[in-house]
């Protein structure tokens, strides 16, 4: 097309090759952050368009955390637009959960075996039910497979905060999991 200069095509090709492989990661994160498929699709699309506009300023190191950081901003804008419980959820989350003990004694049961009985949907729901900062940290780690340093970059917090959130997130998930088992038996 006459409208595009040659280097614009080149930029588009480089962006395509670098960013599109991260599409599934972006969509998975958006699903967990927004808890809604249609909103997640919109957010991911907005993220990719924004990323393309800023691609000239992209200096690495890794594409995935760079892209997910943009996606996170888009999702937060969506929270602000919704202006409903998601935002409050986030504000309260860390203080509210201070009261939750980091470790609760497990039920005397073969946990690993019980966990296997749960189908994937249950695990997904348990993760979706977690308060925002913990859900986000857990998903970035377990599902997007980012390093602590990359999570810190995406979430804009120190690595120490990532560590403490992850410890708390996994403990919360474990408690919820144990409770879900209890309700089944």
């Amino acid at each position: 097309m006459a409208g595009y200069a040659g280097d614009e095509h080149d930029k588009a090709r480089r962006f395509h090759d670098a960013a599109l492989p991260c599409l599934d990661d972006a969509y998975a994160l958006a699903r967990y952050l927004l808890r809604n498929a249609a909103d997640a699709e919109d957010a991911v699309q907005e993220c990719f368009l924004r990323a393309f506009r800023h691609f000239d300023s992209y200096r690495g190191p890794a594409m995935k955390p760079w892209l997910l950081a943009i996606l996170r901003n888009v999702c937060h804008a969506e929270f602000a637009r919704r202006g409903r419980h998601d935002a409050a959820d986030e504000n309260d989350a860390e203080t509210k959960t201070e009261a939750v003990p980091l470790w609760q004694e497990p039920q005397p049961s073969a946990e690993a075996a019980l966990m296997r009985q749960h189908d994937d949907e249950t695990i997904r729901r348990l993760i979706e039910d977690m308060p925002q900062p913990f859900r986000e940290t857990l998903v970035l780690r377990e599902i997007n497979d980012l390093s602590y340093q990359e999570i810190a970059q995406v979430a804009g917090v120190p690595v120490g905060t990532v560590m403490s959130r992850l410890a708390r997130a996994r403990t919360m998930l474990r408690s919820a999991w144990t409770a879900a088992e209890g309700s089944l038996t």
């Binding site: 614009e8 095509h9 599109l20 969509y27 990719f48 393309f52 994937d120 997904r124 410890a167």
Partner: protein, 264 residues
């Protein structure tokens, strides 16, 4: 390492995020602690269960097509280019961020910092107490050992980006023991070590750009008394098992002496 530290660190161990030295420390604690070793096993099982589950939604093919169509085409025009026009309102709004991703991520960082400042403060308080406890273990207290403040101050030069005030409070009953380089929140900080009777006080000093003067805040973490304040662009954390009144006295003396035009 105690169980409270291991609670957090065992996740880093599980995720392969620790260097050899720290991994050894955590493993040594876990080897000798039935409760922590049980936790590690449980969290490992949980992580494996998550990894084995199908939790990662694949992006719908239609979404991929929409994104590809909305981007400039790598090869000249495809038929699909007309599938989905951009929403103009959003585009023009976000187009306003001419300086790029740096702006939006800095903006995001500042928002996050505002929301989680109290969390961060608590996190650093925990860090500071952990550093204090580590310092009490054999041979860790001081890198430079002296009662002469003129030896301590130059020692820090070039090691940290801050010149911590090193103040002689012997007359007030606080003996200067020396200085140490420590890490809080991933940053190197100076620790000036004092002692009253058998109680060690670690005074951590870090540079905080734009740190306004902040009043002393007090808290207790794992039984240790912690005082936090900032002035003169420096951030101070004092930790000790000294009783709160005496630690308060220490903080007042340091704070008064650190001010440039005080008579100290």
């Amino acid at each position: 390492m105690n169980c409270a530290e291991a609670d957090v660190m065992l996740h880093a161990l599980l995720d392969g995020e620790l260097d050899a030295g720290h991994a050894r420390d955590v493993e040594a604690h876990i080897a000798g602690c039935a409760s922590c070793s049980e936790k590690l096993a449980a969290f490992r099982a949980q992580r494996d269960a998550i990894a084995g589950a199908e939790l990662k939604s694949k992006a719908p093919a239609a979404l991929r097509a929409r994104i590809e169509a909305a981007l400039p085409q790598p090869t000249p025009a495809r038929a699909s280019a007309a599938v989905l026009p951009l929403r103009p309102s959003r585009r023009s709004f976000f187009g306003g961020f001419a300086t790029g991703a740096a702006v939006s991520s800095a903006l995001a960082a500042s928002i996050v910092l505002t929301i989680f400042r109290s969390d961060r403060e608590q996190m650093i308080a925990n860090d500071v107490v952990s550093a204090h406890i580590r310092s009490l273990q054999a041979g860790h207290l001081m890198d430079v050992e002296t009662i002469d403040r003129h030896t301590v101050k130059p020692w820090f030069e070039g090691k940290v980006d801050v010149a911590p005030p090193v103040i002689d409070l012997t007359a007030d009953g606080f003996t200067l023991l020396g200085g140490r380089l420590d890490y809080i929140d991933g940053e190197p900080v100076a620790s000036v070590v004092y002692k009253r009777r058998q109680h060690v006080i670690n005074l951590f000093v870090a540079q905080r750009l734009g740190a306004a003067r902040a009043a002393v805040s007090a808290r207790t973490v794992q039984g240790y008394n912690v005082r936090h304040w900032s002035e003169q662009g420096l951030e101070f954390w004092a930790v000790s098992d000294l009783d709160p009144e005496e630690l308060g006295e220490f903080v007042r003396k340091i704070s008064a002496a650190a001010r440039p035009n005080s008579a100290s």
